[in-house]
Amino acid sequence: MTGFVDRARRIPSWQVTLAGALLVLGFLIVAQAGAGPARVQYTTQERPPLVETATELQNQQDALKAQILDLRAQIEQLEATSSGNSALVTSLNDQLQQARIAAGLVDLQGPGVVVQLEDSTQQVPPGAAPGDYLVSSSDILAVVDELWLDGAEAIAVNGERITVTSALTDIGSSILLNGAYLQPPYQIVAIGPKDLYSRLTSSANFARFVQARVEAFGIRLGAGSLDKAVVPAYAGGVALTYAHPVAASPAPTQTTATAAP
């Protein structure tokens, strides 16, 4: 009995430390091995190329957007300095500038707010829907719509401008806006009246949103006022295939058009 205790005492402390470390190591190896095959087999075989393809397409999309913005700047420059009746050219360029601003094709800046949304970090209780703990496209739509009602003049989410044709959608746990994949966290930037922040945070819709999403599911929300908010131009198509001008009501510029040689 005493012999055993003596022998135990004689074990150097480093061996005890090493044994402890090896125990943790063994546990981690098993946990690691166990974590792998639990997933469906196709995910391990097919996901890496899919992630690669999606990443490539995103890079391609970024390049196309940059090209569109570059071409628009070139066209604007050519139009501003084009030949012809100079009064008419000036008037058309003024109207073009107003139309571009109205359409969301121009970077804007001004006083505003930023609202940031992030997924909940709460543990999903058994039986609960995990999707409730993630930011969804309807959460973003709810905040964006309330900002419009509070007088916002321009809004972008993660740099994607909200325009007349912008739509939000969910794909699994990810969100698309203007066909662009939004990487969390979601930052909604709006330009509007100086009191936009207090208008937003004192609205009934916002209070309901906080109650239904932040308090109930732990969706993380941050909001702040900005002295200088920047909302970038829309980098997408404005082509119409099905919508045509109404023949009976000429646009105001068409009368001047016939007067020009």
Partner: protein
Amino acid sequence: MKSGMRSRRAQVSIGFVALLLGFLSIVQLRAQAGGTGLANLSAQDLTTLIANLNQRNAQLSSEVSTLQAQARQLQAARTLGVSAIGGLQNDLQGIRLWAGLDPVQGRGVAVDCSGPMTASDANDLLNELRLAGAEALAIGQVRVVAGTVVAGPAGGLSVENVPLGASFRVSAIGNPVNLTAALTRIGGIVSRLQVTSPGVQLVVTPENSLTLPATDRSLVPADAQPRL
């Protein structure tokens, strides 16, 4: 001397195990956290995402071609010393139509809405129509532009301060087949509202010719300025 050697060997062993331990902990944590973004998506969601990105990139490529042609024409007019006014007028008309500053007409669908629809149901419907490729939208005689939002309690909805009444019509110009299919598909907004808002009825009708008014909204910003 002997004990010194032994303690060095011990340090090396412990050091090595600590290194391996650290490495495995990180691998384990990464595997559980799954990183952010794309790595979190299932193979099925990734496939859907890829299809969406492909479709969007095709639209963007087509816009690039259109803009390139427009720039070439303006450049040619400049080289030849001829007026480019026609080009400027076309450009202006295209942007004004798209932004909702001028009336438009074309094929599409009409969605007749009735029952206790909430503002968020109505805004969902607008989002779904845009997602399905609607090029122009109106609620009743109010053109929907960026910033047009349906507000108010169910039964007392309004848009741009115009009351909508008990039933109202949403008009959407676009491909009638695609628009109808997107709204009426399984899991689409028509079937979703049947579950979440019983009593709400949406009737989707393809239309050969719809005319939507220009917006009454001033789209000239008062607080925002162009960033130079």
